[in-house]
């Protein structure tokens, strides 16, 4: 169905905007892994250079039928969060389901929250940056083509389709640099709700795993404060047939 729409767009003609829609459609619909495991190291860096490290382990799995993803995140560092875990069922047509486990209370509970624009664990990434975005949220416009650090890119402006998108993402505009060779967004400039540029995310390293490109190191910088966060994926293992049981609520506290 979505292929049809894409084809239709292609046939109707190539106004710059529809070119942008096509590019971004490809970006959002890049082939992805069936399942994945990784260690994530998040380094939060103060403007004066002080670093704080958060480590977590994640597992995710895509339902081949619905395309919806289940994700498990377990904290390892800092020590007082060790064992704290979140389980997220992402849904395309409704709010995600979320559960958490707090080892200190030995409790698993459901979490209803709608704070997607919230900062992810005090980092410079928002929850929206990390996994809340949808192709359908934005209108796209091709601004220009240019080289970014020697990589030929499309530069695309994304404007929220509705006030709700602006509210949930916290962004009034994004400018995205898309690598022409592999459809990876290599840099995004985020504009806050007063339309001021305030954050930049840059892909520092990408790797090809089983033919699929993956952003391995991403850095987000708060341009107001100079605070940075570097998120690095290591120990990446993909398509190893993770059992559904791993993503059950009962398994959260294990």
């Amino acid at each position: 169905m979505q292929g049809m729409i894409w084809l239709l767009g292609f046939l109707i003609g190539a106004s710059p905007d529809s070119v942008a829609q096509q590019i971004m459609w490809r970006v959002y619909n890049r082939p992805s892994f069936q399942d994945m495991h990784a260690q994530i190291t998040m380094t939060l860096i103060d403007p004066n250079g002080t670093q704080r490290v958060r480590k977590m382990e994640t597992w995710s799995k895509k339902d081949p039928k619905t395309g919806e993803t289940k994700m498990l995140i377990k904290f390892m560092e800092p020590a007082d969060l060790r064992g704290t875990a979140f389980l997220i069922y992402q849904h395309k047509d409704r709010e995600d389901d979320m559960w958490f486990y707090l080892p200190a209370l030995r409790k698993t509970k459901r979490l209803a929250a709608s704070g997607k624009s919230g900062a992810f664990m005090g980092s410079d990434f928002s929850n929206y940056d990390i996994g809340g975005g949808e192709y359908e949220d934005w209108n796209y416009r091709l601004l220009r083509e240019e080289d970014l650090d020697g990589i030929p890119c499309w530069v695309i402006e994304a404007l929220p389709k509705s006030p709700d998108v602006e509210k949930k993402s916290g962004y009034s505009k994004e400018i995205r640099w898309v690598n022409k060779e592999n459809d990876l967004v290599v840099r995004t400039d985020h504009y806050d709700r007063s339309e001021m540029l305030y954050k930049r995310t840059v892909v520092k390293d990408a790797v090809q795993i089983q033919g699929i490109w993956f952003e391995r190191v991403i850095e987000a910088t708060d341009l107001d404060s100079g605070h940075r966060t570097v998120m690095e994926f290591t120990d990446i293992r993909v398509n190893q047939g993770l059992p559904d049981d791993l993503f059950s609520i009962r398994a959260l506290g294990r």
């Binding site: 939060l44 002080t50 969060l81 704290t84 459901r110 209803a112 929850n127 709700r193 107001d224």
Partner: protein
């Protein structure tokens, strides 16, 4: 005198040189900075100010604007809720706004059957009765009442948190224009207050004031000059002197980097009122001597021969009295003092150079001053002088009683400051402040900064419990409306994770036993925080605690910003901090009210210091001028009398000792001493001429200098009275006090001084 000769011989060269110098000095006037931050008035190393700046560095937001939306009836209607929600959204898009906390978007933490939810209070369309009811219950159930909803459910409160990088003035201006348009577009009453708003309105009002003062003082000066001399040159020359001295001073400020600020904006009025005196004296003498000369250059030379010295003398004493402001401890007052001193000296130079040059060019005036013009005044003063000396015993007693009366008023002076009271009664700023003070937690915010012992310290239950106890302690004061901070969040999280049990609305213990296992409370807290951070809107946690958890802030909302209220709460809070914060490294208070408190305390000591210093400097100059130590005392004793009158009046009339009023004493001393010098100078001449006849000397002095002093004082007093036109009470009072000071120094010169001189007959008179 050599220079006067040169000037009179080469008037055109003189004018050329002055014009060139004026251009050079004004060339950098474009660099004149405008400084509106009141905090800039403070010395940079003031601990409370440093802490305030540090809060701005460590936390994303420092200042708050409060907005109240008042409905005719109830706020829980679909319309009002929807308007509030849209307005929240609009505010969030204002540049420089960090976050908006409103009744519709505030994060509500609740227990559910399966777990917990952290959601905005309004989750869907408020036209759905179910949604509206949920909102109402959420808001009324928790501690949002009195913070985001008024108790009578008639008003919603919104907190606009400003980014630390925000230009407060710009944000305040934009928010006020938004509240204005909301007010006209809906049936809601809309109010905005908070420090950034008050400072913006104050700056705006003062900006308008300055224009009014400037226009008024110019009109007054022109009127006085026109009435005194009834000639074109009589108006033009002294007027040019003061205008040029203002321009030069601005140029000077641009060169040395002194900004145009809340203090220096009074500079034009000060300079014009003070600087005009030299020109008046010179022209007065010029017309007075007119009859005796047929050569214009000779007339100018004789005029200047008589006046060069007194003009220099009086200008120096005035400049020195203003320089003493530099020791009051406030940067902006120091800058004002230096600038006025500079301006007074420029006025002096121009009076001594420009006026004679012009007079040397202009043809001789047709007429001299009509001796009969103010004959009645001369007679009256001479008669008054005679009576003074004849009844000097009685006069002394009366003066003693008067002094005593005013001295008794001095202890009644209140060192008080309440910004909002400076606005007129019906001003929107005042109504907003009063409404928000009455229905919400309060428009003033004092911030307590809690420094823990190292990173992670703020996760320790022991410290959180102390913060909770601190909050309870503070809430006992009726003026404290609310205290927000990390402790409330932890208590709430603990409650919802324990099935909503009200007993569990508390900080976890240091050791929590779970399923028989002892768990450090610190871990429980850490996990609550992680959970909250993942589920709330951005920046909620960062507002209360640093990312390292080594420092937290508690915001204390206070209903009135009166100095005495803040002082009471400050003392009360510090009592707890000293005795009960065992687990914190350090706890300090800061915020705009705390800074003002410090300012007020400094006002007292600074004022005393600068008064004594300027009295001393003026004393020295008088001693040098008359080459007599006792002359110095005769110079400053009448001034002291005038100062006592001033302070006594402040006590009786309930005028607060404030930053603005600090300038009054220095003006009184700097300008008042001129009268003493003129009087003593003339008195000595007549005293010697009459072989020590004090009665005759007094009458003669009154007849000549006495009239000049009285007219001069009236002119300056009227000049300063223009400041009374200000809409702000403190500024208007300052104008009043300065005007009174001019009159009281003049009265002191014309009564105190002759009686003292005639009773004591000091030796320097006959030297």
């Amino acid at each position: 005198m050599k220079w006067t000769r040169w000037i009179v011989r080469h008037p055109w060269w003189t004018l050329l040189i002055l014009t060139l110098a004026t251009f050079v000095l004004m060339s950098r006037m474009g660099n004149l900075r405008v400084e509106t931050d009141i905090g800039a008035a403070l010395p940079k190393d003031l601990p409370v100010k440093r802490l305030y700046d540090m809060v701005g560095e460590k936390f994303p937001s420092k200042d708050v604007i409060f907005i109240a939306l008042e409905a005719r009836d109830r706020v829980f209607t679909p319309d009002v809720v929807q308007i509030t929600d849209q307005f929240t959204d609009r505010l969030a898009r204002v540049q420089g706004v960090y976050d908006v906390i409103s009744p519709t978007n505030v994060s509500v933490i609740q227990g559910t059957e399966e777990g917990i939810e952290v959601v905005p209070a309004l989750q869907a369309d408020p036209r759905d009765p179910q949604v509206l009811e949920t909102l109402k219950q959420r808001l009324l159930a928790s501690d949002f009442v009195g913070n985001l909803v008024s108790k009578d459910e008639k008003a919603f409160g919104l907190l606009v948190l400003l980014k630390k990088t925000a230009v407060n003035k710009k944000v305040a201006a934009e928010i006020l224009s938004l509240t204005d348009s909301l007010r006209s577009a809906t049936s809601l009453q809309v109010y905005a207050t908070g420090r950034p708003v008050l400072e913006y309105l104050l700056a705006k009002g003062l900006g308008r004031d300055v224009h009014v003062f400037f226009t008024l003082v110019i009109l007054v000066v022109i009127a006085i000059l026109a009435l005194s001399f009834r000639s074109f040159r009589g108006v033009l020359l002294p007027f040019t002197v003061v205008i040029v001295s203002v321009l030069w001073t601005f140029g000077f400020m641009a060169w040395v980097g002194i900004p145009f600020s809340h203090s220096t904006e009074f500079l034009p009025v000060l300079l014009i009122s003070i600087g005009i005196a030299d020109g008046i004296h010179i022209l007065h003498m010029y017309y007075h001597l007119r009859k005796r000369f047929t050569d214009k250059k000779e007339l100018v030379l004789e005029t200047m021969r008589q006046l060069n010295l007194p003009v220099i003398m009086t200008s120096l004493t005035t400049a020195v009295a203003f320089l003493a402001l530099g020791f009051a401890g406030f940067t902006s007052l120091k800058q004002l003092g230096i600038s006025v001193a500079f301006g007074v000296l420029v006025a002096m130079v121009f009076s001594l150079v420009f006026i004679p040059a012009m007079l040397a060019i202009l043809p001789l005036p047709k007429r001299a001053i009509q001796e009969t013009q103010l004959r009645w005044l001369h007679k009256a003063l001479a008669g008054f002088g005679r009576q003074l000396i004849l009844h000097k015993g009685l006069v002394t007693v009366i003066m003693g009683v008067v002094v005593l009366f005013f001295v008794l008023g001095i202890p009644k002076i209140k060192v008080e400051n309440f910004t909002i009271e400076n606005f007129p009664k019906n001003h929107e700023a005042r109504r907003a402040y009063e409404l928000i003070s009455a229905h919400f937690s309060g428009p003033e915010v004092v911030t307590a900064v809690i420094r823990g012992r190292g990173p992670g310290a703020l996760k320790e239950p022991a410290l959180l419990k102390e913060m909770d106890a601190f909050k309870s302690h503070l809430l006992k004061d009726p003026a404290v409306g609310n205290v927000t901070g990390l402790q409330d969040l932890i208590k709430r999280m603990n409650q919802v994770l324990h099935g909503g049990d009200p007993q569990e609305y508390r900080i976890p213990d240091s050791i929590v036993v779970v399923e028989g296992q002892p768990i450090p409370g610190r871990e429980v807290v850490a996990q609550y925080l992680a959970l909250y951070q993942l589920s709330s809107r951005p920046g909620q946690l960062e507002r209360m605690v640093t990312p390292d958890y080594d420092m937290a802030r508690m915001d204390i909302f206070i209903k009135d910003g009166r100095r005495t209220t803040i002082k009471r709460i400050d003392t009360y809070a510090k009592e707890f901090i000293r005795q009960d914060f065992q687990h914190a490294e350090e706890v300090d208070l800061t915020g705009a009210p705390e800074i003002l408190l410090t300012v007020n305390d400094m006002v007292v000591s600074g004022q005393t210091r600068s008064i004594f210093l300027s009295l001393f400097l003026v004393f020295l100059l008088v001693v040098i001028a008359f080459r007599s130590v006792s002359a110095g005392f005769y110079g400053i004793i009448p001034l002291t009398f005038a100062l006592l009158v001033n302070f006594g009046l402040m006590g009786y009339l309930g005028i607060y000792a404030s930053l603005e009023n600090m300038v009054t004493s220095n003006i009184a001393i700097g300008v008042g001493v001129d009268y003493m010098i003129h009087f003593i100078h003339r008195f000595r001449r007549f005293y010697k001429a009459t072989q020590g006849n004090v009665l005759e000397a007094t009458v003669q002095t009154m007849d000549t200098s006495g009239v000049a002093i009285l007219l001069n004082a009236l002119a300056v007093a009227i000049g300063f009275a223009t400041i009374m036109a200000s809409m702000f009470r403190a500024v208007s009072q300052m104008g009043f006090l300065i005007s009174v000071a001019m009159i009281s120094t003049c009265v002191a010169a014309l009564t105190f001084l002759p009686v003292l001189l005639s009773i004591l007959k000091p030796k320097f008179l006959s030297r």
